[in-house]
Symmetry: C2
Subunit: 249 residues, 2 copies
């Protein structure tokens, strides 16, 4: 079907169902091959990459809406996302729909609310909706090469910045790493989020001081070097640290 | 004038000017007498306390809107506010306007965006708008005693929580303290934000390590004890720390 026609077909139903002027965009980060990636889709129309965002129903809470639309657009079930920013420039999406007239629901001014979540990329299997050619994980290192719709590059950058700030306050990694991991793997995750290399000794000391790790009586087998110790998160202390923060003062 | 009539008078103009379904609420924190306070107004209608919030014009950016409406409602000029949360429960304000019918602009469902800023309370002089009986600073310790409209208590609590998190990442105090201050005064500010007492030795050591303070060749005179040293913020290092964060990793 014609990709323009798909928008036109949705417009009048959208006016009935959704709040005008307000959209939501999920930034789902995954971690794989020591790199962060983000879940994006490419719509049939314009073939630009974008976040799997959408609109909020008149009869649902905002928190419900972001979970529903992520499921609808990307086929992934995520139970909680954290709000990290609101993007409200008046002309942020005006060029995207220039092929349409003002009666199109999707063409009106939208202030969009950004939400993020962190997941182990191997456990989420994206499925594109009918409006999209594909929905997949894209490494952050690939983003400079691809065309992103509207202000979605800025939205992803703000999400990453928020993640960098949060890592000073909250433990991170529970959803991103496999159940058992080595300290070098955890360090790679922190380095990927912070965008810089960390001193190994300092990192080990600080991360152990947080009290969120449990050393297992197992080693990672199969490497060429001495088998490194495996760790898992101490779930109770991890939760406490999530609630109370890492208490720098 | 009848306070209900004031709403009715505003409704049809509001429909022309403002985006529907979207509001913004500023939480302005001040610091005074070793305590945090927040800027609130009491509207003529219902006489409940509330944040000096309002609506966003169709023709302005969201960031412009929050600055404009704060000026209009509270008479204070604040150049920058930071977004900290979005409040999107579908029934968050439905009871507030129960005296009105559905045609009232103000009665529709609003998703509100929370912004905060920190100011030296002695430099901002609030002036109530025509819809309000008063607009003034209220100490956080007084909040349990007063009636707050809608979900504004939850909004203030989330702003305070955000401030507590930010204090681990960013320096705080530049706008809240007078230009020259003593270390005990700075510690009181940190304690007010964190809601707990801090060990003096640890606090002095950590705050000095941040490199954001400049010790002045002056002491606070007039007390009964040994005159304490005065400090000011090293503006350049403070700005750097704001941009780069306090770098815990």
């Amino acid at each position: 079907m014609d990709s323009k026609q798909q928008f036109l077909d949705k417009s009048s139903e959208a006016k009935e169902i959704f709040l005008p002027h307000l959209s939501a965009d999920p930034v789902i980060f995954g971690f794989d091959n020591n790199e962060l990636k983000v879940l994006l889709l490419k719509m049939n129309y314009r073939k630009q990459w974008m976040l799997p965002g959408g609109y909020i129903r008149k009869d649902e809470d905002l928190d419900e809406g972001i979970v529903r639309l992520l499921k609808e657009r990307a086929g992934v079930a995520v139970s909680y996302l954290e709000e990290f920013g609101v993007f409200g420039k008046k002309n942020r999406s005006e060029f995207y729909f220039e092929d349409f007239d003002e009666t199109l629901f999707q063409k009106q001014r939208f202030i969009t609310i950004g939400f993020y979540a962190l997941y182990n990329a191997t456990t989420l299997h994206p499925v594109a909706d009918e409006m999209s050619e594909t929905c997949e994980w894209i490494y952050l290192s690939e983003l400079p090469e691809i065309e992103l719709a509207m202000d979605h590059r800025e939205i992803i950058e703000k999400a990453l910045l928020t993640l960098r700030e949060k890592i000073s306050i909250k433990p991170i990694g529970f959803n991103l790493l496999p159940e058992k991991f080595t300290l070098p793997e955890l360090q790679k995750l922190y380095e990927a989020i912070l965008g810089k290399e960390l001193n190994r000794g300092n990192f080990y000391r600080k991360i152990k001081n947080l009290g969120i790790l449990k050393k297992l009586d197992e080693q990672r087998r199969g490497g060429a070097y001495k088998a490194p110790d495996l760790y898992s998160f101490d779930e109770e202390n991890y939760k406490k640290a999530l609630e109370n923060g890492l208490n720098n003062w």
